[in-house]
């Protein structure tokens, strides 16, 4: 029997090169004659550009060119609005949507909309000189009033960012399932509460970068960049630079994380410069630029209203929410609809209505980032559950349990479509079982005892729980080519592009199982549009699900071809053959038969071919997996915290997760994804916030101001698993890349609420960095002193019974 590799804790194939400094990230590429670009960016949040003078910069030592929007006129198009124009027609049929067109320019023309918006680009012999050139570009602005708050931005009196839109609404949609008005009216109790999560930056450790080279003879463009969606980028470049797609090659080399998607001005600008100057050009983002403008996310405000019964069972839920999209809305409803689709998570709430709006403000445009709308929604939902428990005097964990969808109800229809237009029906899962196993792993009773003991000493310890589901493995497709080369080595190509997830290893494991080879005998290539015709990329926890399945299917096809051919060569029935150790041999007779290399040779075209008449030469197959819809992965997080009342500092004492991602390809890799996601979520919950002042100036442009979690803040995370195979792909895989980041803000907020329960602190706004939490504690204390007793603090509105 061939060894089974899927499910094993195989060490990663990519490790050696990354550990020895032999990886190749964009900044490591060297091309002869390389020029270096630096970008002139708006210094005001909103204004008219009255004067843009690049003459002095053009004369500077080492500067080769300086380009402004005028130089792009007629040569570089605006960004296509793929996310807007390609909204699933099936979704549009079910959910009324309004998404006005508002395409982004590559370089701002007469008007700027956020601090950091690209205005001009300087190209020079090296980066130092390019940055010298920046200093010499003169820009004068006539400032316009900036709007930074999404609610204010919707006020008819607010300054309008894009006059052609007539307002700042960038998208709106609404939907309801069940009779929400009636259920709310009939509910014995009602609560309303606002929950807000601040703006956050994806903050991959590698900043973005682009290198482009134009071959004027062949009229071919090659672009290397930090982007996990190579084919999308190629499509954008072809459209914006008016080139045939197959004469644009986009290659994403090693990537230092990503944690979100996005096509940015430099992605187009640098290739255009390479064409225009007929020299290779490179642009490397610095961290300030990254924090200013790359992959901002979150920034949502949810106004929830819930109706519930005396036991804390939620009978109806309404959510009206705003997503602060920043100055443009390139992702249309991606994040906002995700928030709506995931709000109820694991809870059974059959009467549910939502209205989501994306709003334009003078901040950097937001992008989908790890979790993409889910952390905000889950924080609001679990926050509501906590309030309901507090109102009813019930245990918050018990209220969660009472509201979970029971396993016998699975697969559960949620009464609304997913973003792909297909109705949401949860995969097989056991949510109460997941909660129970998370509590057990956490040592819930022991921790509660510890909490009681600490409380007696005056220490504020709290325990928080949060759960989520994640629609993972978003389509519409992903493909793979599997090919056995003449030496018997296997090549796998896919359109998904790993940026740290270990896909070279996990996809090799999938392929190795089908072909009976060791994963070391499989090379995985990804991130190059020249290698496969179609590709979608890595985001939405989709690569294991979609690329993993495509690789499995393509490898199965190759396996069939091998067995049939070998059966002919050996003159036996294919059913009597097995594949193991790189050979095809008769069952029970390992070491006999033919090697993969021999079978590959028999597949080569030409007179020596042993292929049956009419068969395609080559031992290879290409398969595209088109998932019917997303798979629903899930997880439950339990955290214990200690809050220092005098400083507002939250220390994480213990963190436990139990996830269900279906078939794990490599548990070590899965756990690594969970660890990283949780750390990211801890940042969201406690530290990370992009802050603008009232005039729209960014205050968090360095790592001194934008705080990323370190070894000091992230505790050990204990990870447990449940495995319910998905029935939406043949291998039962569900995604796991983002899930870890979804629940930490909610779980931590819940734990802080528990720690500070007697004070009734308002925890409706995240992150809970020490300054904010300190203020909230002070406010709660002042309220208590004022009212002379323990009256609830948060501004909740109560309905009558």
């Amino acid at each position: 029997m061939a060894e089974r590799w899927v499910g094993r804790r195989l060490r990663r194939k990519e490790d050696r090169r990354l550990l020895t400094g032999a990886g190749t990230y964009v900044a490591d590429l060297r091309l002869p004659g390389l020029l270096h670009a630096a970008v002139v960016r708006s210094e005001v949040a909103h204004g008219l550009v009255t004067h843009l003078d690049v003459a002095a910069a053009r004369e500077a030592d080492g500067v080769v060119a300086v380009l402004t929007a005028a130089d792009l006129e007629g040569r570089v198009g605006r960004f296509p609005e793929g996310a807007r124009t390609e909204i699933s027609p099936a979704l549009v049929e079910k959910v009324p949507l309004e998404v006005p067109s508002c395409p982004m320019p590559v370089l701002a023309t007469d008007r700027v909309h956020w601090v950091g918006q690209p205005l001009a680009v300087v190209v020079a012999a090296d980066r130092y000189r390019a940055e010298d050139g920046l200093e010499l570009v003169e820009v004068d602005y006539e400032p316009l009033p900036a709007v930074l708050d999404p609610e204010t931005a919707l006020d008819p009196a607010a300054p309008v960012l894009h006059p052609e839109l007539g307002g700042n609404l960038a998208a709106r949609f609404a939907f309801s399932t069940g009779d929400v008005d009636a259920a709310l009216a009939a509910a014995p109790f009602r609560l309303r509460q606002r929950f807000a999560m601040g703006r956050q930056a994806a903050n991959a450790m590698e900043t973005r970068g682009v290198v482009a080279s134009w071959d004027p003879g062949r009229e071919e463009l090659t672009v290397w960049g930090t982007n996990a969606r190579p084919h999308l980028l190629r499509a954008y470049l072809a459209a914006m630079l008016a080139l045939p797609a197959e004469r644009v090659r986009f290659i994403a080399p090693d990537m230092g994380g990503s944690f979100g998607t996005g096509v940015y001005s430099e992605d187009v600008l640098v290739p255009f410069l390479a064409m225009h100057l007929r020299r290779p050009v490179r642009w490397l983002e610095d961290r300030r630029e990254n924090l200013t403008t790359t992959r901002h996310a979150r920034d949502q405000v949810h106004d929830l209203e819930a109706g519930y019964d005396a036991d804390g069972r939620i009978l109806a839920l309404r959510d009206r929410f705003l997503v602060d999209s920043g100055a443009y809305n390139p992702y249309a409803i991606t994040v906002s609809y995700n928030a709506a689709a995931h709000l109820r998570g694991q809870y059974r709430i059959d009467a549910y209505a939502f209205e989501g709006r994306n709003v334009l403000t003078n901040k950097a445009p937001v992008a989908p980032v790890r979790g993409a709308g889910r952390p905000e929604a889950v924080f609001a939902m679990d926050g509501m559950v906590d309030l309901i428990a507090a109102e009813r005097g019930l245990d918050a964990v018990e209220v969660r349990r009472r509201n979970l969808i029971p396993p016998e109800a699975m697969p559960y229809p949620m009464g609304m479509p997913y973003r792909d237009g297909v109705d949401v029906v949860y995969d097989q899962a056991d949510f109460p079982g997941q909660l129970a196993s998370a509590l057990e792993l956490f040592g819930y009773d022991t921790q509660r005892a510890r909490q009681a003991a600490w409380r007696a000493e005056g220490r504020r310890m709290g325990i928080g729980v949060s759960s989520y589901v994640e629609g993972s493995g978003y389509g519409p497709h992903e493909g793979a080519v599997v090919r056995v080369d003449p030496t018997g080595h296997v090549l796998v190509v896919t359109g998904a592009k790993p940026h740290g997830q270990g896909l070279e290893t996990t996809l090799a494991q999938v392929c190795a199982d089908q072909l009976g080879v060791h994963p070391d005998q499989v090379t995985v290539r990804a991130g190059d549009t020249a290698l496969i015709a179609y590709g979608i990329g890595t985001f939405a926890s989709r690569s294991a699900v979609t690329a993993g399945t495509a690789v499995g299917l393509a490898a199965q096809a190759v396996r069939d071809k091998i067995l049939n051919l070998a059966a002919g060569l050996l003159e036996v029935d294919p059913a009597d053959l097995e594949l193991a150790d790189g050979r095809v041999s008769a069952r029970g007779a390992p070491g006999t038969g033919v090697t993969l290399a021999e079978v590959a040779a028999a597949c080569a075209p030409g007179p020596r071919s042993r292929l049956p008449e009419g068969a395609e030469p080559g031992l290879e197959a290409q398969r595209y997996f088109v998932p019917p819809t997303v798979t629903f992965a899930s997880g439950t997080h339990v955290v214990a915290v200690e809050v220092d009342e005098d400083t507002g500092f939250v220390r994480l004492l213990r963190y436990v997760t139990v996830d269900d991602c279906g078939q794990m390809l490599n548990p070590t890799v899965v756990e690594g994804q969970v660890h990283g996601g949780v750390a990211h979520g801890i940042g969201n919950g406690l530290l990370e916030e992009v802050v603008y002042d009232d005039g729209g100036q960014l205050l968090t442009g360095s790592y001194m101001d934008y705080l990323v979690p370190t070894t000091a803040e992230v505790p050990p995370i204990q990870v447990g698993h449940q495995t319910f195979l998905s029935d939406r792909n043949p291998f039962g895989i569900k995604g796991v890349g983002e899930g870890g980041a979804v629940s930490p803000p909610a779980a931590i907020a819940s734990a802080v609420a528990d720690a500070l329960a007697p004070l009734q602190v308002d925890l409706s706004e995240l992150p809970l960095h020490p300054e904010r939490l300190f203020r909230r504690i002070q406010e709660a204390k002042a309220r208590q002193r004022g009212s002379g007793g323990l009256k609830p603090g948060p501004p909740v509105e109560r309905g009558s019974t």
């Binding site: 060490r11 020895t20 790592y703």
Partner: protein, 179 residues
């Protein structure tokens, strides 16, 4: 701007190059010497990705000028293992314990860990965490890095117990003259 000659030793080899006075040590290593294993995550001294050893102590190569390294002995990630040989025990432990994902922060961590284990062959978890709190990683959540460091310390102690003392953690080339 006039370029100045720089002579220094990197990973046991004597090297010469030239740089403008304002060129950072990191850019010099990457662009002039072609040692691109040292990464730049922030260029303002916080993320630790650019950490290398200068005369045995960890430094942030984005915060030094190349000229400041004149005559120094540098160690970078490229110097930890022979290109064709086995990994250094610290690298080995990072791989075994899945202490890296995208690998971008990894060279900085490895070099910090070299210094840590040279100073303290048997650090506790809290010590490791405190020591590495100046290196940012967005992918791993750190715990596998901490586990890798503990494992590496064990491997190095074992190797050191039998062998000649002094260079347990020392990367390739520190041993003798000529390098």
């Amino acid at each position: 701007m006039a370029r100045r000659e720089i002579e220094l030793r990197v990973n046991g080899r004597s090297l010469r190059g030239s740089a403008e006075p304002r060129t950072t040590l990191a850019d010099f290593l990457r662009d002039e010497l072609g040692l691109t294993g040292t990464h730049l995550g922030c260029e303002h001294g916080v993320c630790g990705a650019c950490t290398i050893l200068l005369d045995g102590r960890s430094v942030r190569s984005c915060l030094l000028f190349a000229l400041q390294a004149q005559g120094s002995e540098l160690r970078t990630v490229e110097g930890l293992a022979d290109p064709d040989g086995p990994l250094h025990p610290i690298q080995e432990a990072f791989s075994e314990h899945h202490g890296l994902q995208c690998g971008f922060c990894t060279p900085g961590f490895l070099m910090s860990v070299c210094e840590l284990l040279a100073d303290d062959p048997d650090p506790g978890e809290q010590e490791i965490r405190a020591y590495l709190s100046g290196n940012l990683c967005r992918c791993t959540g750190y715990q596998n890095i901490v586990a890798a460091v503990q494992a590496a310390a064990g491997k190095l102690r074992e190797a050191g117990a039998g062998g000649p003392g002094g260079s347990r953690v020392a990367p390739r080339g520190t041993g003798g003259p000529g390098g």
